[in-house]
């Protein structure tokens, strides 16, 4: 892939495996045809927005699932699992209708909101909370610390590594999310990286060198995030399965 980004379209079709000299030319073509900066920025806002909000929502949910004892919790958990299992193509049309009715079609919010609450993340946080000593919470309550305080000052800091793990996964999913954004977004200004790539391959004639360069650029952020977080990531998931 990296090699292809430096070659001309012709050489890519030739499956040439040596680096070429077309990198800058491809880059010039790419920014000439597509608004790369804006797509990168949109993808970045969506991915970061989703990640931050998803972490907030799902960590609270995971905490609530484990700390508060309520009837039917396991039942709700089972239903949550079911929600992962329904193919997206089936829920897409009703979801679209929903967003159209509240007037959110064609906004980045419409891309972010459905991705915030991911059952998989809630599961992860819930499992992580399992190992969290309940006595500490009891003690804090006796000391008069508010529920919000317990969550923010005691629970969250101990979940830092789980957070890192969840962040990488959410970021990657949000960054690569494709089918839904392309249906809900109808404006060039909101184009994300996967949409940009799909635009590049849409015509009768595809410049494969440029395409590969775009693909390479699109993969970089996830790699960087993984590289930064991977140490914490590995530890974070450990906490989750105790």
């Amino acid at each position: 892939m990296a090699v292809s980004a430096t070659n001309s379209s012709r050489d890519v079709l030739d499956s040439r495996l040596l680096p070429g000299d077309q990198l800058f030319e491809n880059f010039a073509k790419l920014i000439g045809v597509q608004d790369l900066g804006s797509a990168m920025w949109n993808s970045f806002s969506v991915a970061v927005g989703t990640t931050v909000l998803a972490l907030v929502v799902c960590s609270i949910a995971g905490y609530a699932f484990e700390i508060f004892h309520s009837r039917g919790k396991d039942f709700v958990m089972a239903i949550l699992l079911l929600a992962i299992m329904i193919p997206f193509a089936a829920t897409m049309v009703p979801l679209f209708r929903l967003f159209a009715e509240v007037g959110l079609v064609n906004s980045l919010a419409a891309v972010i909101i459905p991705a915030i609450s991911t059952p998989f993340l809630i599961l992860l946080f819930r499992q992580a909370s399992r190992s969290f000593p309940y006595e500490i919470i009891e003690a804090a309550r006796i000391d008069g610390v508010s529920e919000v305080g317990i969550f923010a000052r005691i629970y969250l800091p101990s979940m830092r590594s789980t957070m890192a793990a969840a962040a990488v996964i959410t970021f990657m999913t949000a960054w690569n999310n494709f089918l839904w954004p392309k249906v809900i977004l109808v404006n060039n200004a909101f184009q994300t990286m996967p949409m940009l790539i799909s635009n590049l391959a849409a015509g009768y004639v595809t410049d494969y060198g440029v395409l590969m360069l775009a693909v390479l650029l699109a993969s970089l952020p996830t790699m960087v995030i993984f590289l930064i977080l991977q140490r914490t990531f590995a530890e974070g998931i450990t906490g989750a399965i105790k």
Binding site: F65, L80, A90, L98, V215
Partner: protein, 277 residues
């Protein structure tokens, strides 16, 4: 519950609507309740293409998921060994495939497995075969390529989970096994693996779910061909919904069958996983 509310709005309302839709028939956007109500479901059993995609999906599931999980487990324990250098490099390298865009990965795979592609050149060069193999043109080898693609893309993802779990194993249990004279394999199998069971269960369920909803590989590598022989259920679902004459009632019924299959398999895995505890 806050998240539960969001999920309620974002997942269950659409899910419920999809279920109602699965009981309806009609072309375009005009729907009436089917007569009888479950006719979309009985129709599935008469659909030859659906049966084929069901069979394909289960072939992927039965071959790919076990191999992937075992390879991921072995990779994880190798990468966990203390005297390995550049650990973060290896981890990142193996995780990398699932961060790579589908467009690039499918183009690379198609090129490698082309008739005059790298794999055939290599095999011919080594005189292992006499004539180029039409990898993507033959049902068996095309499925093989899809499975290979799945392995390449998702092994690293699962490995990371195992790697994490491995950090958590009480090292003294392994030491104890060594003292007792167990070889590396026995230690791994009888000491390490049982302690990883919760994580194995989680990844097994997630992978089962992922495979039954498999779309990308079927779509990007082979377009389901030759002659539907590699098409997955979700790919067929997408075709029925968006590429052919849209029949959303039927498509919803199809989704619910996928959902039920995943749920049953997950349930069995949970039961089996629990029993061994």
């Amino acid at each position: 519950m806050p998240a539960a509310l969001l999920i309620l709005v974002m997942s269950f309302i659409p899910m419920a609507q999809a279920f109602i839709l699965s009981l309806q028939t009609g072309r375009g956007a005009n729907f009436t309740f089917a007569e009888p109500l479950w006719s979309n479901y009985t129709r599935l059993f008469e659909d030859e293409i659906f049966k084929l995609t069901l069979q394909n999906t289960f072939i992927y599931l039965l071959i790919q998921v076990p191999i992937m999980l075992i390879v991921a487990l072995v990779l994880a324990s190798v990468l966990n060994s203390k005297n390995l250098k550049f650990k973060s490099f290896w981890r990142t390298a193996i995780f990398l495939p699932c961060a790579v865009s589908l467009v690039a990965y499918s183009l690379v795979f198609r090129t490698i497995f082309a008739n005059d592609g790298f794999v055939n050149d290599l095999l011919l060069g080594l005189s292992l075969i006499d004539a180029p193999i039409n990898w993507l043109g033959d049902p068996t080898t095309a499925r093989f390529v899809i499975i290979l693609g799945l392995l390449w893309r998702w092994t690293g993802y699962n490995m990371v989970f195992y790697l994490a779990a491995l950090q958590n194993i009480d090292h003294s249990t392994i030491e104890a096994a060594k003292v007792d004279g167990a070889n590396a394999f026995k230690t791994f199998w009888f000491v390490t693996v049982p302690q990883l069971k919760p994580m194995i269960l989680l990844t097994a369920i997630m992978s089962t779910n992922g495979t039954l909803q498999l779309f990308d590989e079927s779509w990007a590598l082979t377009r389901g061909g030759p002659a539907y022989q590699t098409m997955s259920m979700s790919h067929y679902l997408f075709e029925v919904s968006f590429l052919k004459n849209p029949n959303f009632g039927y498509a919803s019924a199809l989704s619910y069958v996928i959902l039920i299959l995943v749920a049953i398999l997950a349930f069995i895995q949970l039961k089996v996983g629990d029993k061994r505890d």
